[in-house]
């Protein structure tokens, strides 16, 4: 991944489905509301540990939440 490449995510939708505010999700993840906002708006890509935390919280796989638009490498 180089600078400028965009990874899209479904965080806002998943959060809305649970009726959580950004602060609520941030608190559950151990990050700030600003961090959740930055991830949702694509201004910041989370670290791998945080992506795993997110996936675990939503009961999904990381690639079901984040999409770099390149599909599966082994497919």
């Amino acid at each position: 991944m180089s600078v400028g490449e965009v990874v899209e995510n479904r965080l806002k939708v998943l959060r809305a489905e649970r009726d959580w505010s950004q602060a609520e999700l941030g608190g559950r993840l151990g990050v700030s509301r600003q961090a959740v906002n930055a991830i949702e708006t694509g201004k910041y890509d989370p670290s791998l540990p945080l992506a795993f935390k997110l996936a675990r919280l939503f009961g999904m796989r990381i690639e079901e939440i984040f999409d770099d638009g390149k599909g599966r490498a082994d497919g």
């Binding site: 608190g27 700030s32 961090a35 201004k43 910041y44």
Partner: protein
């Protein structure tokens, strides 16, 4: 359960409160050191040697402990913002002195002033941080 539904919000609020407490505490201690330095500066702009050592020790302790506490409390976005700001501040610092020196040797500007370069680099870092955080 309402409490269970709001557990994240409560934790986030607590983290935010701790963040501003650290920032406020750091600012307060800095102001006290700055005031003490100003109060102990003589008419010729000098500070007694013992006090000078004491101030440097206090500054090193404040910066070291403050940075350690700060980075233990903030999240990875804040780390990234600080890394970005440090990158630009550091680059401004290492560019400013040689550039100013060369221009001075070309008799285009007055002699380089380290205090101006220091403040300038800090301002560049601050601007980079604010841009990254609030863009």
């Amino acid at each position: 359960m309402a409490d269970e539904d709001q557990i994240g919000t409560t934790l986030e609020r607590r983290h935010r409160r701790q963040y501003w407490l650290i920032m406020g505490g750091g600012l307060l201690v800095s102001l006290v050191i700055g005031w003490a330095m100003g109060a102990s500066t003589g008419p010729e702009g000098t500070i007694p040697a013992g006090l000078a050592i004491l101030f440097v020790a206090a500054l090193a302790l404040l910066l070291g402990a403050g940075t350690w506490i700060y980075f233990r409390k903030v999240d990875e976005l804040e780390w990234a913002n600080n890394l970005f700001a440090s990158f630009w501040g550091f680059n401004a610092f290492i560019l400013a002195f040689p550039a100013w020196l060369i221009l001075w040797k070309g008799r285009l500007v007055p002699e380089p002033d380290m205090f101006t370069i220091y403040i300038g680099a800090a301002l560049v870092a601050l601007a980079a941080y604010l841009w990254k955080r609030y863009r």
